[in-house]
């Protein structure tokens, strides 16, 4: 087979194979578009994606199509190397055409992006009686801490009510590194930067659990810095919100375990058996809250100061959880 035939043939075969491989997965859009949007902002981003895909797809077909066509049509055949092709040096009108046409396409793309932008950055106007929820999202090595207006603290899993505007203030403590908060189904990612506050929002229509992960490389446990968003019916959320506030106030509840799972277990293991961090089970520190607090607040060796700014309440919850689970039971 001459190479000129082999090339389009191979491309066709591989194209067909790729499509065949992709077909069964297409049910879940298989990564050909961003994940199914659950919030108006993510929907508008998806619409922009599809808009760009239409134009880039067309350009793709024009360029690859004419490449294949020329390769086939103008192959050497029986011609010798000394035979000249057409000695054409250029054409001003053509140059103008393929300068202006891309400009027009880019104007169309840019205009659509700016048209969609308000839907992406501005939350829809809330009804008068609806109260927006504002959550502070803080990125720590290597967990997410969420602070609610009533003082409730949650880690890694954020809980939010369905069909209500949730506004986010995204930041990181001064001594930490840059992270990026990202749940693909509710929209784009925004960096959690020490010393800066970024804002974002979402409004999810259906209850469920949405998954995401830290988007900016933040060190050894970057891959483990997962985030979840649990969207609950309003009543369920209100109940959780109130009872959790009371429980955390009274020092009851799961805050200790949640803190351990998010901030400690990724390096020391859920059972305290150790991983890249030393084992905690049987470690004298777990029975000594003051010494433990010292390490947690200031870090030691490779361990970052994971809890430098935790409240007394959160610190107590962690130290008593550790003592009960891994120490002498207090």
């Amino acid at each position: 087979m001459p190479p000129a035939v082999r090339r389009p043939l191979l491309l066709t075969v591989f194209g067909a194979l790729a499509l065949a491989a992709a077909a069964p997965a297409l049910a879940d859009n298989a990564g050909f578009t961003p994940v199914t949007p659950e919030s108006p902002g993510a929907e508008a981003i998806n619409a922009s994606f599809l808009w760009v895909a239409v134009f880039t797809g067309a350009i793709f077909l024009v360029v690859q199509g004419s490449l294949l066509w020329f390769v086939f049509r103008y192959r050497r055949g029986r011609r010798a190397r000394t035979d000249d092709g057409a000695q054409v040096h250029g054409n001003t009108n053509l140059e103008l055409a393929w300068t202006v046409a891309p400009v027009l396409i880019l104007v169309a793309i840019g205009a659509f992006v700016f048209y969609k932008l308000p839907e992406i950055v501005d939350a829809p106007a809330a009804a008068a009686e609806e109260q927006e929820l504002e959550v502070t999202v803080k990125g720590y090595r290597f967990y997410w801490q969420y602070e609610y207006p009533n003082g409730v603290i949650a880690l890694d899993r954020m809980r939010a009510p369905v069909d209500r505007n949730v506004r986010l203030r995204i930041t990181a403590p001064d001594w930490d590194v840059i992270h990026s908060w990202w749940i693909p189904a509710v929209g784009g990612k925004f960096d959690a930067i020490p010393g800066h506050v970024n804002t974002s929002w979402f409004r999810v229509r259906n209850p469920g659990i949405l998954r995401g992960q830290c988007g900016e490389f933040c060190g050894v446990q970057h891959a483990a810095m997962l985030a979840e968003l649990e969207v609950m019916p309003q009543d369920d959320f209100d109940e959780w919100y109130e009872s959790e506030a009371q429980a955390q106030e009274a020092g009851r509840g799961d805050l200790g375990q949640e803190t351990y799972a998010a901030a400690c277990a990724k390096c020391h293991g859920m059972e305290g058996a150790g991983d890249i961090g030393p084992p905690l089970a049987g470690n004298a520190l777990v029975n000594d809250p003051a010494a433990l607090e010292e390490v947690v607040r200031n870090g030691r060796g490779a361990m970052p100061p994971v809890g430098r700014d935790w409240s007394e309440r959160q610190m107590d919850a962690l130290t008593s959880y550790l003592r009960e689970e891994l120490g002498d039971g207090g």
Partner: protein, 549 residues
């Protein structure tokens, strides 16, 4: 007593110890030998960084593999990226430039031959300090190739400092090399070679060198401040009470260098493509001036787009909008090039020798990389796909599908000139096709992974059948690519006994093909007078008219 130099032409006295096969390479100031040293060294680093990539793809073949440790994985992607950019693509293009620019413009050597040698040796030792940083306490740098603070300030161990040291050395090397290129191109062109008759590869090296001179000092400054933050307790990039630094400042500094760097890595490759296509289409390049001016335009706009790497840091949206528009503007001169290359094929007499296959492969894959770039330029879409595998796919389509394919094509094109031997065509074509298929299999599925939500720089990922399927395809593709590169190396080794090339095996148009292969140390006994951008085409025509060919 002063002798009359014209009476006794001075032959440089070469001491005996410098004449050996090995020693002569150590002391050489010949631009051709320095060019070959650059290319060989970059080839060595390419294999090193490629093996690192294969190790990473093995780790990622399935979820929760334990081929390398977490810290090990972070070191691998940091050094893979740094090495491919600073030790492979930029210097191998300096190698091509060194070898070809004086020959193409009809000069005896580079303007400053000794400075040229200094550039090479700085590059070699800067590169080795990066490679050997794996043996430092706590291993090599592990904060990514752009090493954002505060992370890069807080990471313990000498690896990060060696990374800074190595980049400082490489910066000086590139800067000296770039100045050398500019002086050579401006002052040493042969009679008749005006700016619009200069080979397009030389145009691209001119812009490459200009960009390096403009942006490398910014990188040096940023690296120095980073070193201060690490070692001397300053707070340029970390917020700390009164002395309030900003991590975002580093990102501005880094990407003001980092984005032009992308074009530094692609423009000379576009120059290579502009040399190969017309020779194998038996045509003049279509739209010489449009291609030359679009090179300059891309170089200029490349300095106005840096913050499109920073759409997620929370810049005001009017700035995001500005950088979206400026990034999209760059697509226009890039499109002009692609359309002119396509038009060069139109009504040609296309010969599919190995260099041509690489050039056509470049056209196909680079276009995909350019188109995925439009998604990334639209900042709300970037909020979604930033720092995901979509970006990894995009940058490899541009840097492998673009730069590396073009570089491999350039190597197969000029290999006969450099070493006087032809490469094996069958082996060359097999190598191209295997690399091309492997490349697409590796990187196309990564677009999908990114859209599914897979972040980059993670040593493992969600245990999901679709994620694992795409990742496995990608890993298999990387091995296929490895086989293709292996065949390329085999071909090079075999060419030592290949047929002799003669001066001009491709019937090409530019001056380097006028001299013998390999060229004599002084390049030209006599340079043909240049009356167009295709002096050898003109020469062949004159000879034919006189019946001498």
């Amino acid at each position: 007593m002063a002798a009359d130099p014209s009476a006794h032409p001075v032959r440089p006295e070469i001491p005996q110890w410098q004449r050996g096969r090995f020693a002569s390479w150590l002391v050489t100031v010949d631009h051709k030998r320095i060019g070959i040293l650059y290319i060989a060294t970059a080839g060595f680093f390419f294999v090193c960084a490629g093996l690192m990539a294969l190790l990473m793809r093995t780790q990622l073949a399935q979820a929760d593999m334990e081929i390398v440790t977490r810290e090990g994985y972070n070191q691998l992607f940091t050094i893979h990226g740094t090495m491919m950019i600073f030790l492979v693509v930029v210097p191998i293009l300096a190698g091509f430039g060194n070898y070809l620019v004086p020959l193409m413009i009809g000069a005896r050597d580079m303007a400053f031959p000794r400075l040229n040698a200094l550039s090479y040796w700085l590059y070699l030792f800067g590169g080795l300090s990066l490679l050997f940083s794996f043996f430092a306490d706590d291993g090599a740098a592990r904060a990514g190739w752009y090493s954002y603070p505060p992370l890069s300030v807080y990471l313990a161990g000498a690896g990060q400092d060696l990374w800074i040291l190595s980049l400082h050395i490489l910066t000086i090397s590139s800067l000296a090399g770039a100045i050398n290129f500019v002086v050579t191109i401006h002052n040493m062109r042969t009679r008749g070679m005006s700016w619009t008759r200069m080979p397009l590869f030389v145009w691209s090296i001119e812009v490459y060198a200009g960009l390096l001179i403009l942006v490398l000092p910014t990188l040096s400054a940023g690296l120095t401040l980073l070193l201060f933050d690490r070692q001397f307790g300053t707070n340029f990039f970390i917020p700390a009470g009164d002395a309030d630094g900003s991590p975002v400042l580093y990102q501005h500094i880094f990407w003001f260098f980092g984005h032009p760097e992308v074009y530094i890595m692609i423009l000379p490759v576009m120059g290579i493509i502009s040399e190969i296509l017309p020779v194998f289409a038996r045509k003049p390049i279509f739209g010489y001036k449009a291609i030359a001016f679009s090179t300059v335009a891309i170089g200029f706009y490349s300095m106005l787009v840096w913050a499109h790497h920073m759409f997620t840091v929370g810049l005001p949206n009017f700035l995001n909008g500005f950088f979206m528009i400026s990034s999209m503007i760059i697509a226009v001169p890039t499109g002009v090039k692609i359309f002119n290359w396509l038009a060069t094929l139109w009504r040609g007499n296309l010969h599919f020798d190995t260099p041509m296959l690489y050039a056509l492969g470049f056209l196909s894959t680079f276009t995909i990389g350019g188109l995925s770039g439009i998604f990334l330029a639209a900042f709300p879409i970037d909020w979604q796909v930033h720092d995901t595998y979509f970006v990894v796919a995009h940058l490899h389509y541009v840097l492998f599908g673009g730069s590396i394919l073009g570089i491999l094509g350039g190597l197969t094109y000029w290999w006969p000139k450099m070493f006087g031997r032809l490469l094996d065509e069958r082996l060359g074509k097999a190598s191209f096709w295997i690399t091309f298929v492997g490349f697409n299999l590796t990187f196309f599925p990564q677009h999908m992974l990114g859209l599914l939500g897979m972040a980059r720089r993670i040593y493992t990922y969600r245990d999901d059948p679709l994620w694992e399927a795409y990742n496995l395809a990608s890993s298999i593709g990387s091995y296929v690519m490895g086989v293709g590169i292996l065949l390329f190396v085999l071909n090079i080794v075999k060419s030592r006994r290949g047929p002799r090339a003669g001066n001009d095996p491709w019937l090409a148009d530019t001056l380097e093909w006028y001299v013998s292969s390999p060229p004599p140390p002084h390049n030209f006994d006599k340079v043909p007078y240049v009356t167009s951008s295709r002096p050898l085409y003109d020469l062949r025509r004159r000879l034919r008219e006189r019946g001498e060919l």
